[in-house]
Structures are given as C-alpha cells and as structure tokens.
C-alpha cells in the first residue's frame, strides 16, 4: 500500500516537467491568442473587449479564405483516404518485405518533412515553366498548378503517405481467418470487403480522413512556398495579417482567424479520438 502510494507520487513527479512545459510554451501563447481575438490592441491605448475581430474574421475575403481552406482540405482528404487505403492494402498484401520498408519510410519523410521541398518539386515539374508543362505543352491544354485542383494534387503528395501510415496498422490487424471464414461461407472478394473488412476498418478509415483533413487544413508552408497560388486559404490570410501586410489592426483579426481555425480543429479532433478508440478495440 505504502509503496504503491509512493509510486503514484513518483509518477506524478516524473510527469510534472512535461505538464509545466506545455503550460508555458503552449498554454500561454494559446491563451494570448484567445484573449487577443476578443480585444483591441494598440500601444499606449487601453485595451477594450470587442466582438469585432471575430465578426470581421467571418466576413468578406476572410470568410472566402476559410471556405476555400475547408473545401480544399475536404476534397484532398477524401481522395487521399481512398488512394491511401488502396496503396496500403497493396503494400500489406505484397510478398516483398523491401517494398514495405521503402513505402513506410518514404511515407514518414513525405508526411513530416513535406511542405517546402514538396512545393518546389511540383513547381519544377508542373509549374508554369515546369519540366512536364513545357515538354507536353500543358499550359495550352488549360493546365495550371496554381488553381484549386493543382493545389489538391500537391496536397495529396503528403496526405496519401499520412493515410498509409495511419491505416497500415489496421490492415495488419485484419485477421486472415476472417478472410478464410468468409470464403468458406461462400463469400466472394467483393462481399468480403463489403460485409467484413470495410465495417471493421470503418472507424480507422473515418479517423484517417479526419486526421488528413486536420493536417491539410493547418498546412501553410506548401501553399506559401508556391508563390503565385491564387487559391484563397485561411493560413495565407493569417500570415499576411501577421506580417503587417494589411494594416496594424489586422493582427487582432489574425488572432480571431486563428481562433476560428482552432474551433474547427477541436471539432475535427472530437470526431477523431472516439473513432480511434473504436478501431483499437478490434485490433488488439
């Protein structure tokens, strides 16, 4: 009894530095952001509370950007969910161990390192002076990388790897016996997927979609590095406002936009976590 009490205390002590760190390095800026979203700020002037920032952040060009971000993220996440599942399934069922290592490590790099180099690779390949564009005369065919679908294409490049990483554990958990049992009961491949595999995978697929949506929604580097992208995105708007490219009072609107983003991300996560728990139940 006494030793278990002591252990619990030791456990709390070991976790304390982490909690303190997150409170300072994460909590303080987050609170400052929330506070700034509801106040006005100018040096030497008294601060006053206002809802103006939030309403400004949800109107006009800012609203367009928010909608643009949501639309782009949803589209790219949906495509990446399907493509990622197919790719992951191909990797899991393949007989080559090497392929698995190559795909998993490459996915790790693309999903985390992503951003800037990625944008360049695409600009160099499919941009206005890109290798493919000039060789195949795509511009004449109406192709431009700097449109909605161009950005979707670029985003897929880091979303698909992310999906592969997050769905492979679930696919590994699909038990071979289920497949055999289904076959023994006369189910064909389509029926097996429709009645056994997909229902079991559904939580992790949905969870994956939500995760992808979240990271596409938060992405800034890729879009920023592709100078000339004409697609309005909320992250670009925030950066512009913060850099003082708009006006001095815009920075509080930027905070309000950040708060909008946090609200959406919270909703997204609130969906994701229960789904993740559910998928974990099958895959022990």
């Amino acid at each position: 009894m006494r030793s278990s009490l002591r252990q619990a205390a030791a456990g709390r002590l070991a976790v304390l530095p982490l909690i303190l760190f997150v409170a300072v390095a994460f909590g303080v800026p987050a609170l400052a952001m929330a506070y700034g979203a509801f106040t006005t700020y100018a040096p030497g002037q008294p601060t006053s509370y206002t809802g103006g920032n939030l309403s400004a952040s949800l109107s006009g060009g800012y609203l367009t950007a928010l909608e643009g971000s949501v639309k782009l993220s949803a589209t790219a996440a949906l495509i990446a969910t399907v493509a990622g599942l197919l790719l992951a399934q191909a990797v899991v069922t393949s007989r080559f161990e090497v392929l698995r290592h190559v795909v998993l490590s490459a996915s790790g790099v693309l999903a985390n390192f992503g951003g800037v180099p990625l944008a360049f690779a695409f600009v160099a390949t499919l941009g206005n002076a890109g290798v493919l564009t000039t060789r195949l005369h795509l511009t004449g065919a109406g192709w431009s990388l700097y449109t909605f679908w161009g950005l979707v294409l670029v985003y897929l490049y880091f979303l698909i790897p992310l999906m592969v990483l997050s769905v492979i554990p679930s696919l590994d958990g699909l038990r071979r016996q289920w497949r055999e049992a289904a076959q023994n009961n006369g189910a064909n491949l389509v029926q097996y997927w429709r009645f056994v595999a997909l229902p079991v995978l559904a939580p992790s697929l949905l969870g994956g979609f939500v995760l992808l949506f979240g990271s596409a929604f938060a992405a800034y580097a890729t879009a920023a590095a592709m100078v000339g992208a004409s697609v309005p995105l909320i992250t670009l708007q925030i950066a512009d406002a913060l850099n003082g490219n708009v006006s001095a009072s815009a920075s509080n609107v930027a905070l309000a936009m950040s708060l909008d983003m946090v609200v959406i991300s919270v909703l997204v996560m609130a969906l994701y976590l229960p789904l993740q728990r559910r998928s974990a139940r099958w895959l022990v």
Binding site: G11, R12, A14, V15, L18, F21, V22, V24, A25, F26, V28, A30, L31, A32, M33, G36, Y41, L87, A90, H101, V102, S105, A106, G108, V109, N112, F113, G114, G115, V116, P117, L118, F120, A121, A124, T125, L126, G130, V131, L132, Y157, D172, G214, A218, Y220, A221, A224, A225, V227, T235, I238, A239, L242, S251, L255, S258, M261, V262, S265, L273
Partner: protein, 260 residues
C-alpha cells in the same frame, strides 16, 4: 500501385531534371556543385541542425520519464498525459505562431523598462532563438509521445525494473541501464521524425522572421536561385528518407518477426 509509383516518383524526377537541365547548355550538374558554395546555406542549415538537436534533447528529457511513469502508473495518469500530448494537434502551428507573435509584440511594447527586457531579447536571439525551440518541442510532442509510448508497450517495464532492483540497482540506475537500452529503437525513430519536422519547418520560423533551412530555400527560390535551391531540397529529402529506411530495416531485424 503502378499509378502510385508514377505519381510519387514523377515530381521527384521532374525536379531532378529541372536541376540538371540548363536551357542553354543542356545537361549539366552545376546546380549540385554549387550547393557547397552557395551563400547562406550553411548558416541556415547550422541553425536548423542546432535547433533540431536541442529540440530532440528537450523532447527526450520531458518525455522519457513521462512514458515510464505512464507505464507504471494509473490509467488516470495515462489519460492526462495523452490529453496533454495531443493538445498541440488541436492548435494549428500558424495559430500557435499568431499567439507567440502577439506575446512578443506585447513584450516589446511593455517590458522595455523592466528587468524582463533582457530575457525577452535573449529568447529572440537570432543565433539561437529559444522561441523557436519552445514552439518546435510543442509541435514534436504528439508524434514523439506516440513513438516512444509504442516502444514502451513492447517492454515489460515492471518486471525489468523489479529484476534490476532485486540485483541491487537503484531506481534511477535501473532506468538508465536497463530500460533505456531497450528503448533505443523507439528513441532513434522519435529523434529522426523530430529532425525531419524541424528541418522542414517553415510556418513558425518564417512568420517570426528567422531563417533556418526551409525558409532559406524559399527565399533563395524567389531570389532566382531556382535550380540550386530545388537541388538542395531534393538532396535533403533523399537523405532523410535514406536514414529512415535504414532505421526501418534494422529496427525490423532486431525485433524479429513481431509486427511493430
């Protein structure tokens, strides 16, 4: 599968062709020979690597005691820690940046005559911006926690600790000499992922006005060094991938046939 291969290799090949194809002279590798002489790359890379090492060290310091405590502790402790580590996922990095930005501005306007002024300047020091370090550690937490926690799950921590202590090792010594060597794979993985994150990080540093690796690449590109910066980013991506691949292969061998 084939389509995926084309889609994923295409842009990489495309950028390679872009770097070696000179519209005037045809094929040449000058973009790659210039890498070593191009101005500004080394300081930017140095800053990134310095930040990466510091981030990894701080992440380990914070997380390793935590994951051990979580394994030994109550479920309640576990859910608290998981919640704390997942928090940064809810605030996109640009939103965190805007919070840091307003804090720094507020500090600049209000702390000029107070003793905190030096602290404020110190954390924004261009040679080693502590502000960035703090932000990066926060951003690396979710991923690093999951990686390390998965590594811990594979160990029977309680038994290992008891065995060590029965052999007369103190608790701290038991953890350092018995648990950590068993965690080596997970630690390497977490370190590599964090390194990739810091090297590729653009959002926070560009808005706060620092020039680490990724920001330098973007600036160089808009300054007209297209082929060189594209070459640099290509090389950095391939190198990171090679390291992760090596890790993934060796990690599998060591753990035998058990799925990671």
């Amino acid at each position: 599968m084939i389509i995926a291969a084309v889609y994923f290799v295409g842009p990489l090949l495309g950028s390679f062709v872009f770097t070696v194809d000179d519209p005037v002279k045809g094929f040449n590798l000058s973009a790659y020979t210039q890498i070593f002489s191009v101005s500004g790359l080394w300081p930017a890379l140095q800053l990134s690597l310095l930040l990466a090492v510091a981030t990894i060290a701080l992440v380990f310091l914070l997380l390793i005691p935590t994951v051990i405590a979580v394994r030994l502790g109550t479920p309640r402790l576990r859910s608290v820690v998981e919640f704390v580590c997942m928090l940064p996922l809810v605030v996109p990095s640009i939103a965190l940046t805007s919070g840091i930005n307003i804090l720094l501005r507020w500090g600049t306007d209000n702390l000029a005559s107070t003793p905190f002024w030096d602290t404020l300047l110190a954390i924004q020091n261009a040679n080693f911006p502590v502000v960035l370090l703090l932000a990066y550690v926060v951003m690396a937490l979710p991923l690093a926690f999951r990686t390390l926690d998965a590594g811990m799950r594979a160990l029977d921590v309680r038994t290992l600790l008891e065995a060590a202590q029965n052999n007369g090792a103190g608790r701290v010594r038991a953890i350092v000499l018995v648990i950590l060597p068993n965690l080596r794979g997970a630690m390497l993985n977490a370190a590599m992922l964090t390194l990739a994150l810091v090297l590729g990080e653009f959002t926070v540093s560009s808005i706060l006005g620092y020039t680490p690796f990724a920001v330098w690449i973007v600036n160089g590109n808009s300054a007209g060094d297209g082929p060189v910066t594209t070459a640099v980013s290509l090389v950095s991506m391939v190198l990171t991938w090679a390291v992760l691949l090596a890790l993934s292969v060796t990690g599998r061998r060591k753990s035998g046939a058990t799925p990671a």
